[in-house]
């Protein structure tokens, strides 16, 4: 595989034990994502999008197969190594925003820099810049509950990007938003992707969002059904 691939999965499977029955959520999946790609994972409900993203992020462990991120195999890492690896290399955007309610906009974004031990002066500088980029200047001191869904997701995007991770993983980042807001956010993410060269991997079942990707991977019943790259 190409050295420039930031994400590689090899024969990754996931089988859930649901009571008596085994659910094969993912059949062997081989996937390679190159640095800077803006990839959408599409597929109907239950096709395995969330499962695949969780395996790639190391939040969940595959039943078999290997996941390599930024050149390192994450299956070999201990829990704390994995935790530190996520901190240093992955940015998360969740469907339900998942901001920390007791932290302000500014603090939510600053938090990941704190985890990384970035010095205070630089932290403030970077937080200020990214909040400007996601269009939230002036909302620094607000708490998440005082923001609209779209604004909260902007904070989440800022939080995911502020530390400059290699990979940004987003599970249905626009599913809780109306389509206009969702589309605007995707455009913004695409802009950041182009501007900073960060690799984006996001899932969606919204056709309009898929249209915005540079690569579209369609999942069906836990298998890759199609994988198309296109120019926009």
């Amino acid at each position: 595989m190409d050295k420039e691939n930031v994400i590689e999965t090899k024969g990754v499977t996931k089988t859930y034990q649901s009571g008596e029955v085994k659910v094969h959520a993912l059949h062997p999946v081989d996937l390679a994502v190159a640095r800077g790609e803006f990839t959408a994972i599409a597929g109907p409900s239950g096709s395995g999008k969330t499962t695949l993203l969780n395996l790639i992020s190391g939040l969940d462990t595959p039943s078999s197969g290997k996941v390599r991120l930024a050149g390192r195999e994450i299956g070999a890492m201990s829990q704390s190594e994995l935790s530190d690896f996520r901190r240093d290399h992955i940015g998360f955007i969740f469907q339900a925003y998942n901001l920390i309610p007791v932290l302000t906009v500014e603090e939510n974004v600053e938090y990941v820099l704190l985890l990384r031990g970035v010095p205070p002066g630089e932290r403030a500088e970077r937080v200020k810049r990214i909040l400007e980029e996601v269009g939230l200047s002036g909302k620094h001191g607000r708490f998440p509950s005082q923001l609209s869904g779209g604004q909260q997701q902007r904070v989440a995007i800022a939080r995911a990007m502020v530390s400059g991770p290699d990979i940004i993983l987003a599970d249905e980042p626009t599913a809780n938003l109306d389509s206009a807001t969702g589309a605007a956010l995707m455009d913004m993410m695409r802009g950041l992707n182009e501007g900073r060269g960060m690799t984006f991997l996001f899932s969606t079942h919204d056709r309009m969002i898929m249209e915005k990707s540079t690569r579209l991977i369609a999942l069906k019943d836990g298998r890759i059904d199609s994988d198309t790259r296109r120019q926009r």
Binding site: S57, L59, S80, F92, P101, L103, V112, L115
Partner: protein, 405 residues
């Protein structure tokens, strides 16, 4: 610091619940503190009543006297001992005594008696002897043949104030001691610590009777603070620096009384333990509920790469913060309550009196320990029960937590 800021804001999220738990802790603190103050105060009163009725907070004897009392084993260099005692700030008062057994006669009756020679002026400053008198008057400050006898001796010899009787004993020079005495007063039968056949007389009269020089068998000491009796007895011993002298606090000279007091105190400790248990269960419930509600948040924090130790610390800080604030509130409430109880006290339904002291109400003793022990107990109980939810949260697996709604 981010950890403390998050902990504080988390506490403010569910204000009602936090307030309730805080009140519970503060209430437990106050209750604990008040019972401690009252029990310390009551024990203090009892110990004071007991020690000041005769034994004092500590006693000096010639080495070995306490185990084997003997007329000859006395404190010989009394002048030096007295000078040393006068030079010690912690010694509030002291009183020398001589003891000897004797035979007492009145009419056709004969009975064994115990002579105690005292210095009335010094005893007045240290002890409450006169108040134990039932009838008659106390021993004069000047040596005389007027003595005070216990109720038991009075009834054995059928004596009352004004009556005369004689005593025979063994004098220190080997001769037979023999003299006549006049009953000046009789001690109370129920409210006196002199239960045996006691005969109290002026110390110089006793010395003359027993052919003793300027010596004593015992010096009773009263300190400025009875609680420090053990340490102060050590101070006195160090100042005297004489291996031929024993200085022992009331805990040693009155072993049985001391043990009874300690047993009694244990009962109080157990009831406080139960209170703290209830508080602990309340805290546990609150924190567990909070952790359960925030499972998702902790999952997010972990997904972002937060170490379990930070989440553990976050919850422990929350518990500690709440406990500290509650303790501060509890301390303020306790200060007010204990102050009130130390002045007004709680009336005892059936007042008791002893040694002429009427004990009508329990008064609180306000010492630093009355606040420190509840603080220590509330804090450690809260932190202890916080451990379980904190560990639970630290161990959350992000996928499961993120799946929870």
């Amino acid at each position: 610091m981010l950890l403390l800021r998050m902990a504080l804001r988390n506490l403010l999220r569910n204000r009602r619940r936090t307030l309730l738990t805080g009140l519970m802790m503060a209430g437990g603190f106050t209750f604990f503190s008040a019972t401690l103050g009252l029990s310390d105060g009551t024990y203090g009163s009892i110990i004071d009543m007991f020690t000041r009725s005769r034994t004092g907070h500590a006693q000096i004897h010639a080495a070995g006297y306490l185990d084997r009392p003997s007329l000859y084993n006395s404190i010989k260099d009394l002048d030096r001992v007295e000078r040393t005692l006068d030079g010690l700030k912690v010694v509030k008062a002291w009183a020398p005594r001589v003891y000897s057994p004797a035979l007492a006669f009145a009419g056709s009756k004969t009975v064994g008696a115990q002579i105690m020679g005292i210095d009335p002026a010094r005893e007045r400053r240290a002890m409450r002897l006169e108040s134990q008198l039932a009838e008659g008057s106390f021993i004069q400050d000047k040596p005389s043949d007027g003595v005070v006898i216990s109720a038991r001796l009075a009834s054995a010899l059928a004596l009352k104030p004004g009556d005369e009787f004689s005593m025979i004993g063994q004098a220190a020079d080997g001769s037979i001691a023999n003299d006549n005495f006049r009953v000046a007063g009789v001690l109370s039968a129920t409210e006196s610590s002199f239960e045996g056949p006691w005969c109290l007389m002026h110390i110089d009269k006793a010395r003359e009777f027993l052919a003793l020089g300027r010596e004593a068998h015992e010096i009773a000491l009263v300190f400025t603070d009875y609680r420090k009796a053990e340490a102060d007895a050590g101070l006195v011993a160090a100042a005297l620096d004489d291996p031929k002298l024993d200085v022992e606090p009331w805990q040693v000279t009155q072993k049985e009384f001391y043990q009874a007091m300690r047993l009694d105190k244990k009962g109080g400790d157990i009831s406080n333990l139960i209170i703290m248990g209830i508080v602990a269960v309340g805290v546990l419930n609150t924190i567990l509920m909070a952790v359960l509600e925030r499972t998702r948040e902790y999952g997010v924090l972990k997904a972002l790469g937060t170490r379990p130790a930070f989440i553990f610390g976050l919850i422990m800080s929350e518990v500690a913060l709440l406990a500290l604030i509650s303790c501060a509130a509890g301390a303020l409430a306790s200060l007010a309550l204990n102050h009130y109880l130390s002045v007004a006290g709680i009336p005892i339904p059936k007042p008791v009196s002893y040694g002429g002291v009427r004990f009508t109400r329990m008064l609180s003793a306000v010492t630093p320990l009355v606040f420190l022990r509840p603080a220590y107990t509330v804090l450690s109980a809260a932190l202890l029960v916080g451990l379980f939810p904190a560990l639970k949260a630290a161990r959350i697996t992000p996928v499961k937590a993120l799946g929870s709604r």
